[in-house]
Symmetry: D2
């Protein structure tokens, strides 16, 4: 099968590598002639490239399959431009991190032209080439079915994990690492929630590790902060100098919290035990926020996922005004003068 890929950044490139490796062919679009050249050298016959959309589209067999893998902010404009060059029956895929609302609108806009639209939430990050990508797909059933040979090559495959007890026979798509989640937007919806969960799970580890890291607070009772808090009642219970990197390593085997995230965390802490290369400002991309928007629209309680998101906001100083208000109140009713700083 043949795939057209717009965007040869890390993820787009690795998707192309995985399908070519499996015997499919790819046509890549990049604005950078150099990049096309490199890919052609690397992938040989399986790959051809273009630096303008016309030539790109011309190299694709019909029905064309065009996968757009670029930053979410730019995706809409590119799809609009390329769609102008496509014909009824062609397929456009947004494999990036668009909000699923966009998919609902785009599918509707493209339908009258006979162009099929799929949204594919793609998880795997920098590890996808080796590990395969987890693919969450939204769109019409037939269109998804049509591109399944490609999905199978991009996804990890059933051997990437032990089979779930009770699942036998021919592995289902979900067991191979891709899933048709529903109509337009369903793929990005499921990917969005995936990331929301990711935020929550990350925060669970991070909070726990912080508790471990401060388990020796009973040894440091007269430090600078003492004026700000009540004295610790039971310092004898906080005398532990826990080796947090070692703890993350031991939890990787046999514990309930073993996970791929923990594997990565153990590796990161082994390489930088003091986490000295990080400053503590944590970014957030759209998915974590959209997950909470969805929870609220649905009336579903999401206290853990929200707390995880807010901690990221807070890490960037976004609580500062609120904190000053608290200090002002404390001074007003109690005469407390907060220590300066921050």
């Amino acid at each position: 099968m043949q795939l057209g890929m717009i965007g040869l950044g890390r993820m787009g490139a690795n998707i192309v590598r995985r399908i070519v490796r499996d015997g499919h062919t790819a046509v890549g679009y990049s604005r950078h002639e150099e990049q096309i050249k490199e890919f052609t050298e690397e992938l040989g016959d399986g790959f051809s490239g273009a630096t303008d959309y016309k030539s790109f589209v011309a190299q694709l067999e019909t029905p064309r399959i065009v996968w757009v893998m670029i930053p979410a902010g730019a995706t809409g404009a590119v799809i609009d431009e390329v769609a102008e060059l496509l014909e009824p029956g062609d397929i456009i895929i947004d494999g990036g991190n668009s909000r699923y609302h966009e998919d609902v609108k785009r599918a509707k806009a493209l339908a009258p032209k006979g162009i099929h639209y799929l949204d594919i939430g793609t998880s795997g990050g920098v590890w996808g080439l080796e590990r395969g990508y987890c693919l969450m797909v939204g769109g019409e059933k037939e269109t998804v079915a049509h591109i399944e040979p490609l999905l199978r090559s991009i996804a990890p495959g059933v051997d990437a994990a032990e089979r779930t007890p009770g699942r036998t026979g021919e592995p289902s798509p979900s067991e191979q690492g891709y899933l048709h989640c529903g109509p337009a937007g369903a793929g990005h919806f499921v990917k969005m929630v995936h990331n929301g969960i990711e935020y929550g799970a990350m925060a669970a580890y991070a909070e726990g590790m912080n508790i471990l890291a401060k388990a020796n607070i009973g040894k440091h009772l007269d430090d600078e902060h003492s004026a700000e808090v009540t004295p610790l009642e039971n310092p004898e219970y906080y005398q532990y100098d826990i080796d947090v990197p070692e703890v993350t390593e031991v939890w990787r085997r046999g514990s309930v919290v073993a996970s791929w995230l923990l594997d990565l965390t153990a590796a990161a802490l082994h390489a930088d035990p003091e986490l000295s290369s990080f400053g503590g400002r944590v970014s957030d991309s759209g998915e974590g926020r959209w997950t909470i928007h969805a929870a609220i629209d649905e009336g579903v309680p999401a206290p853990v996922l929200s707390a995880a998101l807010y901690q990221r906001f807070s890490s960037r100083g976004e609580a500062l005004y609120a904190d000053k208000v608290l200090s002002a109140m404390r001074k007003a009713f109690g005469g407390h003068n907060e220590l300066p700083g921050k």
Copy 2:
């Protein structure tokens, strides 16, 4: 009636002033001769003082009433020392901010000596002289009844608020501003929860005001933070330059969130509209923490009160290690490099 007061700091002093003003008399203990002199001048016949416990105790009529109003950390030792000088039937009151656990232990320790013990959670802060103190009392019924004349003078009195619809006749003690909450520790328990609620309510205002303060974020889309977050989807809805001090003022009349805390906040913001005298580090005293300990022991969900407490921890940088862990994880699976700083 006569009250012995150990500790003539702001709260102890104002309690003495309120009772003397009402015709009671007071004996004050202070290590500082100067302070005793000042009080004697200010209060005249109603007051006498001592700089050692023996003389303090000797000036008290039996059954003696000794109110200890000093920092929680020092209270235990002082009570132990004074109790040695007291006689069966005398009364010791801890009016400070001890954890109620201490009251349970102290009442038990003093009982064999025939000394009665009361714990009185005292709210009112720097405004108590003028506004009266809200008194939450724990201990034996008879002992509480015995000191009621003093409680009535210290508490705000029924006129401090409109009577609750349905309450008629002789005002109850609770309407006068003091309440016998239960046996030893009950006073400090109720005061502890009072402060827990205070944290939560303060945080509710502070978060809301932060949302108001950032309502113009749609005007500042290309600022420094842009690399850390997904672009705002609807900047047209965030174009408001809200005058937060004015908003707190307007809410004081007719709104659902009118409160004494809001009165103070409006005053603080009127005096310092930019809150420029505050650095954003918010202290926490024991009560907020103990409230959560109690909620967890009881199995009662307290997500709001906990979130309020954690925000204070966070304001002091206590999430930093956790934040670095998050950044390390993000780099490990997504190749994201967080911006330095904080």
Copy 3:
């Protein structure tokens, strides 16, 4: 001055009463002839009514002032219909609980017709007639200035609270209980955040009161729940039978958490000490949700306000699926069989 009021429900009716009481006049629209008759009898010359929009508009002096005070869901259609009958220079006010997004759109849609639009967030609930309404106004400066005589009659007035220290001279609008918050939508934006804070403050009280109510858990150790939780380590600290209604009463005077909400809570608990008339399902209207949407869009941490909202979702059983997932996990890794029920 003359006000046209569409919607004579509790709030619309009481606004009309307040302005007529102050010497203004009102034209009321209601579909119910009967209601118009009653109002005419009650208010005399100050009031006239109509049961169709044409007659309603015809009775208004130009520039007409039309206040729409109906459920948010119906407001848009009514405004569209009435706007057809208005002339350039007329003013439409949405005093209901619309999301501020609607205001931004409506103001833009009405501008070409020369119709001025104001959004007025109106707080005061069932108490507004007596207590006055807190008014948060969005729109053009001149339009707001034009209707100020009406706002002054509807708002509580400066005497409704003690003046904030430092504020002297002629009371500002905010001190009288109304505030021009900014352009279209700003009024509903501030009202939205007001309600968000209200959710948070309510939850703070409710959680604290729950902790008080369960302070006797140490007396009931062998009850039905014992199989579900670890035994209480220190039952001696949970032996208090706290009279929660009395506690809310005592906090009304002199405490830091005194507030109008607490006044109401004390009254409700005095009338129904066991809260037996309530089943525990708590509704939420739009504002609490929109506040969180705004916080997330702005990147502002709002853990307290969110937790308060989620608790309402949870009270209606919306966490059930998540809870079942937790039970399934616990069984899978630990062999735990949860008790049935709920």
Copy 4:
């Protein structure tokens, strides 16, 4: 090496099986003659048993190693009783779920008798026999070193996971699945935090799955709840019937949230897609609570771990009183009558 095991429940039994399988021998204590017989048959020469402590102790070679693996509530009394029969140099291990405070006290109490004490937090649940147990050990270095041959047999071993990049040479103990975390109590401290993290991660999945499960709410707008909430603004975005069991399966391969918990969840949902065997009441054992107590003592923000714990409380109806208070407030200021039920 020889191990004495008190408590032949699932975990104790499987630990015995793992060491005997590796060539060690075990002496088991059980009150049930029958159980001893069964084990002797199953394990042959490697096992001998006793139904009284004297005989149990008599069968152990010195220095004796006594592992106590019984419910936390009973552990203290058993250790006291057995310690009476032991000699200087013997070792007692608490492998159960005691709070680490107990370990600090016990180690101190046993030291004068020359008895060494270890606390071993043991994770692995029902899967330990097959998967091995993750062991978090607290106590003196020499004592831990002495029993390492046993720990190696009980732990999963290095092959249970891919080695962390950067780790080479002889696998460290942490890589084999056991870790000496620090002095007495450190093992249970780390295990406690492990469980705290487990709560948070579980809740992250559960909340996310709840959001998926309700993604079709736009199809059900006029159901029973409609009176309790504001209408959904954008029903077109909530039209997805997500197959949650299939989503958990697809996430197992290539996604960021792949984990052992997810493996189990996928299996549980495959077996019972509607989760119909669960009622929604979620138990909590001590560790989740103790984790929060520790976080608060340390002043470390733990909003995610706390929210996870509170959701369990809430699932058991423990928010009911607070919810009623909210309803009472809503009625008092807004005249809202909540729907009955719950």
